[in-house]
Symmetry: C2
Subunit: 421 residues, 2 copies
């Protein structure tokens, strides 16, 4: 019994073609994005490369994200975990089982090494991306963990508090984070579940989050999706095709340091609850003014279609700014944030309903960047507070995380190998 075998001949053919394409893609991983497959489920994304997959990879439709705390204090144990995780991720992203399904070491009494719910399913564009939190480097008192003295990046400090934050500590932080993106939620869940299982006795789950609708295209080939406010989200996102922006704003460079993080990126997560019921009672005019864009086309209120440049100086017939002073797009715009841009790849979530009968729903915001202080913190300081972004009447940040994502791994490498070298 194995996943590949259960896919049957047709599936194997499709996979083989996909894997061949992936191999070609690997050699050129740094310069061209993986192709958007005609069948989003068949697509395997190369695991290895200069950068981790799942950052500039064209955003898949589904997310399962987990933050973990390390329960071991042993360096070798952590390294072993990272090696085992890497091996498992290498298999799962290519549509294989984590390990043997049946008799391990010849014993029918062993648990299967793979939990099985992806049996018969193709890779569905799965990417698995890891990030290291400050808590992996130092304990609460600032003492080094795992012998990582001097390895903590200066920028991996706690995010500052922002006006209006209502953070739940259970939804914040984590020593490690893993982002699984795929075009089938069963595939993303399978990946995280098996990685968590492998970590038994060494790391425990702090929180996890399902996301069902990407809100940011990371490739110009993708249609901009809508968030739960009903607006296109991520129109002005950095796209993988914008090579200069990707280089300037996403990847950590040699001059930035530390060495082990070069080619990596900083990941900021924010769980943003939306007050859906209040938003839904706002007029279309009010909604559009809060955002600064038309709800239908996504075009800026200064005129033009979705991708028209935002004209912050444009005036309406009444002489007031067409893009309101406190609109979201104005306050998040690079022109008012010292040029800062982010690569976002957030997801909508619905966690059911709260005790008041309201939707527990919103946006699980994910952003990758070269420098969290000059990028996320700069922009969020522009937005936060009841006298700033008009959207703050309808949203509240309840979770937060900052992680340093190491560069990609080579043929024989493992996640973080440069950190522990």
């Amino acid at each position: 019994m194995s996943r590949r075998k259960l896919l049957g001949t047709a599936g194997l053919g499709a996979l083989a073609a996909g894997v061949a394409g992936a191999g070609a893609g690997y050699a050129a991983a740094d310069t061209s994005p993986p192709p958007v497959a005609a069948d989003p489920h068949a697509l395997p994304i190369p695991f290895e490369g200069v950068h981790q997959a799942g950052i500039v990879t064209p955003a898949q439709d589904r997310l399962y994200f987990v933050a973990l705390d390390l329960t071991t204090e042993d360096r070798d144990s952590l390294i072993a975990l990272l090696k085992q995780w890497t091996a498992a991720a290498r298999q799962m992203t290519q549509g294989n089982d984590v390990g043997e399904m049946g008799a391990v070491s010849g014993s029918p009494y062993s648990p299967p090494e793979d939990t099985g719910e992806a049996l018969g399913l193709p890779p569905s564009g799965l990417t698995i991306t890891i990030g290291f939190g400050r808590g992996m480097f130092v304990d609460a008192k600032g003492r080094p963990r795992f012998g990582l003295d001097g390895k903590l990046p200066d920028l991996l400090a706690d995010l500052p508090p922002f006006v209006g934050d209502r953070l739940d500590p259970a939804l914040c932080g984590g020593d490690l984070a893993i982002q699984a993106c795929a075009n089938d939620p069963q595939i993303a869940v399978h990946a995280i579940r098996n990685l968590v299982r492998i970590a038994f006795g060494r790391a425990t789950v702090r929180y996890s989050q399902m996301g069902f609708g990407r809100t940011s295209s990371t490739s110009s080939a993708q249609v901009t999706a809508r968030n739960l406010f009903g607006f296109k989200d991520g129109t002005a996102n950095i796209k993988v095709e914008q090579k200069k922006d990707v280089d300037d704003f996403v990847w950590v460079h040699e001059q930035d340091g530390p060495d082990w993080l070069v080619g990596g990126s900083y990941l900021v997560t924010r769980k943003i609850d939306m007050r859906i019921e209040i938003w839904d009672r706002e007029s279309l005019e009010g909604q559009e003014a809060s955002i600064g864009r038309a709800k239908g086309s996504g075009g800026p209120l200064s005129g033009g279609d979705e991708f028209a440049a935002i004209d912050l100086a444009a005036k309406g017939d009444d002489g007031e700014p067409a893009i309101a002073e406190r609109s979201h797009v104005r306050l998040a715009h690079p022109d008012v944030n010292h040029g800062a841009k982010l690569l976002r790849r957030g997801y909508n979530f619905v966690d059911g309903s709260n005790g008041l009968g309201q939707l527990s729903a919103g946006l699980f915001f994910i952003a990758y960047q070269r420098d969290p202080v000059q990028q996320f913190v700069q922009i969020q300081r522009s937005l936060a507070g009841s006298t700033r972004d008009l959207l703050n009447e309808y949203i509240v940040h309840v979770g937060s995380g900052l992680f340093a994502c190491p560069p990609g791994v080579g043929r024989d490498g493992y996640w973080g190998d440069k950190l522990f070298a």
Copy 2:
């Protein structure tokens, strides 16, 4: 601005073709299932028909389910709500907006009638199915509500307690339930959100549940999907192509009564938490013995492939029953339940993690039936309890619901029109 318009010419063409097919399907709604479309997102499912869609409809991949409590006691208000819901469902299932997106009654100060997150998206096979709970007919003291004296079906009693139940009252019951199934979760969420919004002041949400992987095929054309135990689930499910079983086990007949429910069905929901971490430590042999089937192929342990008949009398080499006495498939089998069968259309769920770092995950069980006492209750009594189904070591029922789903609506009808006639 409208959903259809934003789909563009290509989208409209695909939709028009789909709608034409749907029209043909409507005339024959009672005898043939809707075709499985090549593109699961393009497919519109006919809303009108002898039976409600979303019961024998080939199961879509995603679920959003909501249970509501009525806050009005006024019969006319309830009827108006059901009419407004029907009108909205009629629109949304065909890929249209609920209503005007912009200036309602000519005023830019009105909220949009549609929340907008489905703008530009096709119908994705959306079905919306309503069920009436006991609480709609009688209050907690058994006094009639909404003038529905004498209309309460005898079988719409509370489900009996089962051994091992750990029901959370907040996840049980409801005066009404709405099941939205689609191949895109954004479409299912959009549907429920807009119906809840329409109900403002008349009904509030009791609980809601996202489901991401169908666990039961309701058509022979569908591959059996896997639940979070990693096993194929629903192999022996009633399929729409089995016309006699559908007729015998799903629809309420004239001789069953009440009149208003003929052509309808009883819906049982059970939120079943899976103790994933414990299951994952069980051996493959133990897992397969608990289920009574092979994990890979899904074939019964008495031999044969997935769809081989289960031989409850078969013995293994050790002389013990090949299908263990306490295995799930034996205790759920029609032969030990007076022939009872169910039409299931359950979904996997992951609600994140609990405070112990374990997955909050499992199966949102959904079953349709002609008679809940002779079908669900009979089978669940066979299964429940620590001396019965071996799976009970790994599962716990935390939510429960029973609803009477009225028959389908005609061109000018509304959900429940026969009940209020």
